[in-house]
Every structure is written in structure tokens, then in C-alpha cells.
């Protein structure tokens, strides 16, 4: 309609242009374009976006009822036309309606129509806020929450991957790159990820990322061993500062611990050390299950307790499942503690303490 209107106006202007002087053709062309554009625009403005107009006019139950009625009606129509209800398509429906209700009207929208309710009723949004009046979406107050959240769709999880290293990139490109070039490359890729719509280029970005390996897969779990009575046992050893400890963990079930031949209560009179021995057992909930024979040497009482804790955790790995190994690792039980005594430096009294400062 608008196009034909534009064309008629345009043809009228063209005739005017032909009648008038030649140098007016340029301006008349422009005016024709401007006028035709304005007409097109004004027609678009009249067509409203019904879906975004306001809160829902049709409730969910209403739409559901309409869908049921449509499906039943479709089957009735198929029966009426003598066709198979299962394979009755929308085209068949249109033809049947045109046959049963012939209409002399010109406007297509005024003719009788039988379509699926999803096509008839406009798509609408459910209520955007909860009972307390607080909106669900964090971008609600922009007015166009779906649009802005689309603009800022981020790429899928980047947590488990890293950028290519310089050597890997050189391998990929079969060229030598300087460190500056590599730094610039990383900078540009990070910039790309910070822009909106970056998920469009997800494939491109993923080509330059490598998956990081799951850390718990690096744990070496010894297989379980069985002694002559059929009782499962395993060994583990651990070190902390200068203390080394070994543990023999037996699955008999009384919870007795002997260290270097003596009971653990006598060997570790301090509560904190005994708590450290119990930490892996208490964490996994197997306090009374294992019998332990430990031997430890070197270091002081705290480092011996730490060494034994690591040894017990490592010995327990054979009795546990994958998920439990991962939780133990995340609790910090399987990492050997790298802290050692800091060395004394020349010109100072100790590692940190300086000599007394004398003014003269």
C-alpha cells in the first residue's frame, strides 16, 4: 500500500520534473526520495508492536483452552471434509475454510480464519515482577531488558580454559613472534571478549584457547592391597619442613593409632597435633574405621604432625571415590606444604631482623 502510494507520488513528481527545468531534476529526485521515505516511515509507525504493548491481556489458562479447542476443531474439520485427522496440515485447513465459508471480501485479514492460537494471539510477556514488586531481571529498569541482555551475552564458560602460550601460537602460525607481538595478541583478544555481542565470535575465540586439565586427575592413587587375612591396607608417606612420616592404614575398624611404637596420646601431648591427625579422618567421616601404624622422624612436633597428616591423606586415597578425592584436594589435605625456614641473609642478623641501627 505504502509502496504503491510512494510510486504514484514518485511518478507524479517525475512528470513534474520532466515538465520543469532540467537542473531541477536533481532536487526533484531528492524530494521524491525524501517524500517516498517519509511515507514509508509513517506507515511503519502506525503498525504497533502489540506484544510489547502492555501486561498480558490473555491469561495462560485462556491460551491453553484456545489451543485445545483449535486441536478439537481441526479434527472435526478433517472429519467433515472426509480426510484423515492425523495428516491434516495448515494448508488443508485453509482450503477447507475457504471452501466451507466462501467470502467476497477483498481484505485478506477480514476473511474467516482458522489458525493455531500462537499465531493469532500475540506473544506476550508474563508479569515481570514478584509478589514484593521487585523485578526478576536485573535489567528491568532499562525498559528493554531482553534487548540489553542480548547485547551483553557473554561467551560460554572461560573458566576452564587458558589462552595459547607463545610457543603454541608460533606452532599454529608457523612463524616466529616476538614477546611484544604475543602480548599485543592477548590484549586484543581480551578486548574482543569485553565487547558486547562477543558470543558471535565464540568459535574464533575458542580456536585460540586450550582447556585446562582437571587438577584432581593428577593425583596418583595407589591400588588397594590385601594382606593374608583379607583385610585391606594401604601405605602413604608425607613430608613437612624436615620431618618425614609413613603410615600403614588398615581397614579393620577400631581407630587405634600407634606412632613409633607408642600410643598417639602419649606421643602428641598437644591437642593441636592430635587434631591434625584426625583432620583427614573427620573430614571424610571415617573416624573409627581405620587402624594406623605410623613412623615419623625429624623436625619438631608440629611438623611431624603435618607430615603424618599428609601421609594419612595419601594413604586414604585408595579407599575413596573420585569425587571424594577432589573434595579432599579442595580442603587442602593433599598439597605438600612448601613453607620452609627462610634463609639468613648476609648483612642481617636473621632472615628479616636487621642489625641494630647506629647513627654513628
Amino acid at each position: 500500500m505504502a509502496a504503491s502510494g510512494g510510486r504514484t507520488v514518485g511518478s507524479f513528481l517525475w512528470k513534474c520534473g520532466n515538465c520543469c527545468f532540467n537542473f531541477n531534476t536533481v532536487s526533484s529526485n531528492l524530494t521524491r526520495q525524501v517524500l517516498s521515505r517519509q511515507l514509508c516511515v509513517s506507515a511503519v509507525l502506525h503498525r504497533k508492536n502489540l506484544a510489547a504493548a502492555g501486561p498480558e491481556k490473555f491469561s495462560e489458562e485462556f491460551i491453553k483452552k484456545q489451543v485445545e479447542e483449535f486441536n478439537i476443531g481441526k479434527r472435526h474439520l478433517a472429519n467433515m471434509m472426509g480426510e484423515d485427522p492425523e495428516t491434516f496440515t495448515q494448508g488443508d485447513i485453509n482450503r477447507s475454510i475457504a471452501y466451507l465459508f466462501p467470502s467476497g471480501l477483498f481484505d485478506k485479514k477480514a476473511k474467516p480464519l482458522m489458525k493455531h492460537p500462537d499465531e493469532v494471539f500475540p506473544k506476550q510477556r508474563a508479569v515481570q515482577w514478584g509478589a514484593d514488586g521487585r523485578p526478576f531481571h536485573f535489567l528491568f529498569y532499562t525498559g528493554k531488558q531482553s534487548y540489553y541482555s542480548l547485547m551483553h551475552v557473554s561467551t560460554g564458560s572461560l573458566v576452564g580454559s587458558r589462552w595459547l602460550l607463545k610457543e603454541e601460537l608460533e606452532e599454529l602460525l608457523v612463524e616466529t613472534i616476538s614477546e611484544h607481538d604475543y602480548a599485543r595478541f592477548i590484549q586484543l583478544m581480551e578486548r574482543l571478549l569485553s565487547l558486547p555481542y562477543c558470543s558471535v565470535e565464540e568459535d574464533f575465540v575458542q580456536r585460540y584457547r586450550r582447556q585446562l586439565e582437571i587438577q584432581s586427575s593428577k593425583q596418583q592413587v595407589q591400588p588397594l592391597q590385601y594382606d593374608q587375612h583379607g583385610v585391606a591396607y594401604s601405605t602413604g608417606d608425607g613430608r613437612r619442613k624436615t620431618a618425614t612420616g609413613t603410615v600403614l592404614l588398615r581397614d579393620s575398624g577400631s581407630g587405634s593409632i600407634s606412632i613409633n611404637g607408642t600410643n598417639y596420646v602419649h606421643y602428641f601431648p598437644v591437642l593441636q597435633d592430635r587434631e591434625q591427625l584426625m583432620f583427614p579422618l573427620h573430614f571424610m567421616g571415617v573416624l573409627g574405621r581405620f587402624d594406623m601404624q605410623c613412623s615419623v622422624s625429624g623436625g619438631g612436633h608440629s611438623s611431624q604432625a603435618g607430615a603424618l597428616r599428609l601421609a594419612i591423606s595419601r594413604a586414604m586415597l585408595s579407599f575413596l571415590s573420585e569425587g571424594q578425592v577432589e573434595t579432599m584436594r579442595q580442603a587442602g589435605l593433599l598439597t605438600p606444604d612448601p613453607r620452609i625456614k627462610e634463609r639468613k641473609k648476609p648483612g642481617q642478623e636473621g632472615a628479616r631482623r636487621k642489625f641494630t641501627w647506629k647513627k654513628r
Binding site: 576452564g160 602460550l165 593441636q272 591434625q276 573427620h282 579442595q330 580442603a331 589435605l333 598439597t335
Partner: protein, 229 residues
């Protein structure tokens, strides 16, 4: 490729030795020793927690320290207090004092409980850990002072304090108060339990010191704009 990544997992000395550095590469994450965190089912995690879990599964984790366990009696605030009270690395004595303090507080409160009339019994708090935490909360200052030089003179300017700093100040005041202002014959745990019970009911010297700091900050309000951060 493999070489440069395994380089991150070894005990580490930084190239430039800063004052505060640790033997762990900064790539390592802090451990989580509490049991209940790992028993939350997948469905009840927020997206941030899920992302954190994913990150933890690919990163190495530091070892748990000596004073940390998964036991219910392990309290990070109390451990910090024990460390602050420790002299020359003697944690056994410091821990002993704290245990005696808690026991003493419990005895006093239970005595009070039995002597109180029926109506007042429910108000008396007997849990020494709860008393300790509440007393520390009552001692924490809300605002602090910093000495800022402007135009040749030093002014005491009121500044906001971080949570760590507030907790540190509360503990420090408590310990110095108990060490200095006591009779020669009273033992540390006795004096500490008295101070903690007083702070719990918002009396005592430590709370007074906190109020004095607040008053100073209020009186120096005019210089607040000297702060530039």
C-alpha cells in the same frame, strides 16, 4: 607448553623479593576445610558458586595450615586471637590461657544462671564462644583516625576502617588491656574472662577506649575532607 605450566606448581620464590611473599605461586587458591560446604547438592548452588567450583577444579590449592581442621570447635576468629596472644612462638601456653578463660567464663555464667530468678534465667548467655564473639563485636570501632600531614602540621583525620583492621584493633586493645591494667597477682585468664564478660555487657575499659576513639573522630569531623582516598 607443559614445561611452563608445571613451573607454576612448584614451591616458588618470586623474582623480585617483596616484603610479604609466600612460597606458593599466586596461581594457587585458598583451601576450604569446612565439611558442610561440600554437602550442598548441585541444584542449590548459585551461578557464582558453580563458577567458583569450576575454577577450583582446574587450579591447584594451597595446603591447609596447622591450626585449621574441619572440626566444629575450629573457630578462625579464636585462632587469630590465640596467635595474637602468643609470645615467642609459644602457642601451647597461649592456647592454654584461652581454654582456661573460656572455662572460667562458663563457670561464672553458670553460677549466675543458678542464682538468677526464673524470669531472668533465659537471658543469661552460657555459651563461652558466643560471649567471646559478642564481646569482640562490642569492642570493634566503627571509625578510626589517621595522622595526615597538611601544610607542615599533622592532623588526626577520621577514616573508615576495613573489617580486618577493626577486628585487629578490638583484639589488640583487649590483650594490651589485660596485660597492663591488672594486679600483679591476678592471672591472665582471670583478667581476660573479667574483661570479656564486661565487654559482653558493654562496660569495661576496652569499650570505653572504643568510645573515646569515636568521640575523637567526631570532634575532628572538620578535617574529614583531608582524606583523599
Amino acid at each position: 607448553m607443559a614445561a611452563s605450566l608445571t613451573g607454576l606448581l612448584k614451591p616458588w620464590t618470586p623474582r623480585v623479593l617483596l616484603v610479604r611473599w609466600s612460597r606458593y605461586n599466586p596461581y594457587y587458591l585458598e583451601p576450604e576445610p569446612r565439611k558442610e560446604v561440600y554437602h550442598i547438592p548441585e541444584t542449590e548452588l548459585t551461578p557464582e558458586q558453580k563458577e567458583e567450583r569450576e575454577l577450583k577444579s582446574v587450579r591447584p590449592i594451597k595446603a591447609a595450615t596447622n591450626s585449621v581442621t574441619s572440626s566444629v570447635f575450629n573457630d578462625p576468629v579464636l585462632s587469630k586471637f590465640v596467635n595474637m596472644m602468643m609470645k615467642d612462638g609459644d602457642k601451647i601456653i597461649a592456647k592454654g590461657i584461652i581454654t582456661q578463660t573460656l572455662e572460667n567464663m562458663k563457670r561464672k555464667q553458670v553460677e549466675k544462671y543458678h542464682k538468677a530468678p526464673e524470669g531472668k534465667k533465659a537471658e543469661i548467655e552460657c555459651n563461652p564462644y558466643a560471649i567471646f564473639h559478642q564481646a569482640l563485636e562490642n569492642c570493634k570501632p566503627v571509625i578510626g583516625l589517621a595522622s595526615i600531614q597538611k601544610g607542615g602540621k599533622f592532623y588526626q583525620v577520621p577514616i573508615p576502617l576495613t573489617d580486618n583492621r577493626r577486628r585487629f584493633l578490638a583484639m589488640k586493645w583487649m590483650i594490651t588491656e589485660c596485660r597492663d591494667n591488672k594486679h600483679r597477682r591476678t592471672l591472665m585468664y582471670e583478667k581476660l574472662s573479667q574483661e570479656l564478660l564486661a565487654a559482653f555487657s558493654k562496660e569495661g575499659n576496652v569499650v570505653k577506649r572504643k568510645h573515646e576513639l569515636h568521640k575523637m573522630a567526631e570532634s575532628n569531623r572538620a578535617y574529614a575532607h583531608y582524606r583523599w582516598w
